[in-house]
């Protein structure tokens, strides 16, 4: 079973690239404008809460990217369609960047709010472990010279690592942590004001565009690297 992708698709991805990059930068600028100038400060935290506009989307996408990664590894094992393997490998690096981003912005936010850069509570620690899981996935693949084998082995590792995702997600509900629980999921009571939701929403779209753009570039590179194009024609 070969990839159900032909050269036309690759060309399409290639030609869509500049537009996607432009759109990403454009939405990022709008989002930054809204979050830095248009939105009001928080009633307690003041201006330092603006970091949330980048912190929250990157944490979401760190988790989501890993879920897609593990999910496509599972699908690859079931269907044996190499497309899923290529997808998993294209998004891993972006996921790692998102994780690092949320860790860094989180500690910048933590200093003025909590009073410390870092605490060893369940949410922060499990997020750090997620970062190492991404590293393990990426470098395990690189370290094994037989690339077909490398894909299978690192996919198995990615699936095992998925145990960490529900731990990150629910750590704030299961245990007493310093990190606050999710703000968005509670629809009944207003945890976030609408004037703050708008920039958060724009920044989420910007992060999503970033994920898609970089993943598509990586997708093309991975295909070329694997010389899978040869089997298509």
């Amino acid at each position: 079973m070969y990839i159900k992708i032909n050269n036309n698709h690759i060309e399409l991805i290639k030609s869509a690239n500049p537009y996607l990059i432009f759109a990403t930068i454009f939405v990022f600028i709008i989002g930054l404008y809204y979050s830095l100038f248009q939105s009001p400060p928080d009633y307690i935290q003041g201006d330092s809460m603006r970091i949330m506009y980048i912190h929250v989307p990157s944490a979401w996408f760190a988790l989501m990217t890993y879920s897609i990664l593990a999910g496509s590894c599972v699908l690859w094992f079931i269907t044996r369609n190499p497309l899923f393997n290529v997808v998993a490998r294209s998004i891993a690096q972006v996921g790692m960047v998102f994780t690092l981003m949320s860790l860094i912005t989180g500690s910048i936010w933590g200093k003025p709010t909590w009073g410390v850069w870092w605490v060893w509570d369940a949410r922060l620690t499990s997020m750090l472990i997620l970062f190492f899981l991404y590293i393990a996935y990426i470098f395990l693949w690189q370290a094994i010279s037989n690339k077909e084998l490398a894909s299978k082995i690192s996919a198995a590792l990615a699936i095992i690592g998925f145990i960490n995702i529900p731990i990150i997600k629910f750590s704030v509900d299961w245990w007493n942590t310093l990190h606050q629980p999710a703000s968005i999921s509670k629809l009944s009571t207003p945890s976030i004001d609408i004037s703050m939701l708008i920039p958060l929403f724009i920044m989420t779209i910007a992060c999503f565009l970033f994920l898609v753009t970089v993943s598509l570039i990586r997708f093309r590179l991975v295909l070329i690297e694997n010389k899978m194009l040869r089997t298509i024609n």
């Binding site: 037989n146 690339k147 077909e148 694997n226 010389k227 899978m228 040869r230 089997t231």
Partner: protein, 199 residues
């Protein structure tokens, strides 16, 4: 009477097809020489026959029973791969002891090594031997004698003329006892065996 049958065997390694529609039948008492250039799939064929590779197209069967379903099949063959299966930091004697346990059979190694003129090496560390000597010791595993097939991957590499001849003699004796030998080689052998196949 054993009959090993390979039907329409094709196998893909990574992106490249290494075996393409191979059909071979080998009967008891015969030797098959698998020839081919480097990377043509000789080792792959042996690893399919030894049940290590299980994802391939086509069918390999022993007496009309697929080797994947034959639970006893793994106890019938003796595979000598290209690696020597020797621990470099141990003496030959200790290595042989370890093999005895894995093969679940204790041989009179001193006598067998004397027959092959290797008995003077028995207390030497494997690390200090030459490649040819290591290969001879590796082939010593053929003395475990409850097997019906020998799968030999490049057995003549590193062997000098005398050792080559004694290995050929061993293979002949095994054939006379109705054993099947499948060996790979990319050089011309001094003797013609029963069957030869180019892949």
């Amino acid at each position: 009477m054993n009959e090993l049958k390979i039907e329409d065997l094709s196998c893909k390694r990574g992106e490249s097809k290494v075996l393409n529609n191979i059909n071979i039948i080998i009967k008891s008492g015969e030797t098959l020489v698998v020839k081919g250039r480097n990377g043509s799939g000789k080792t792959t064929l042996l690893r399919i026959l030894s049940n290590f590779i299980t994802s391939y197209q086509g069918k390999v069967s022993l007496n009309d029973l697929s080797i994947l379903e034959d639970n006893l099949y793994n106890n019938k063959f003796n595979l000598i791969g290209q690696k020597n299966s020797l621990k470099d930091n141990l003496s030959i004697k200790k290595n042989l002891e370890l093999w005895d346990i894995i093969f679940n059979e204790s041989l009179d190694h001193a006598k067998l090594l004397e027959r092959d003129n290797l008995d003077h090496l028995i207390n030497r560390d494997v690390g200090s031997l030459s490649d040819g000597q290591k290969k001879c010791i590796s082939l010593h595993r053929l003395n475990y004698n409850k097997y019906e097939f020998w799968f030999l991957d490049e057995p003549f590499v590193y062997l000098d003329e005398a050792n080559t001849n004694s290995l050929i003699e061993k293979i002949n004796r095994f054939n006379e006892n109705m054993g099947i030998v499948i060996l790979t080689s990319n050089i011309n052998l001094p003797k013609k065996f029963h069957k030869e196949v180019n892949i």
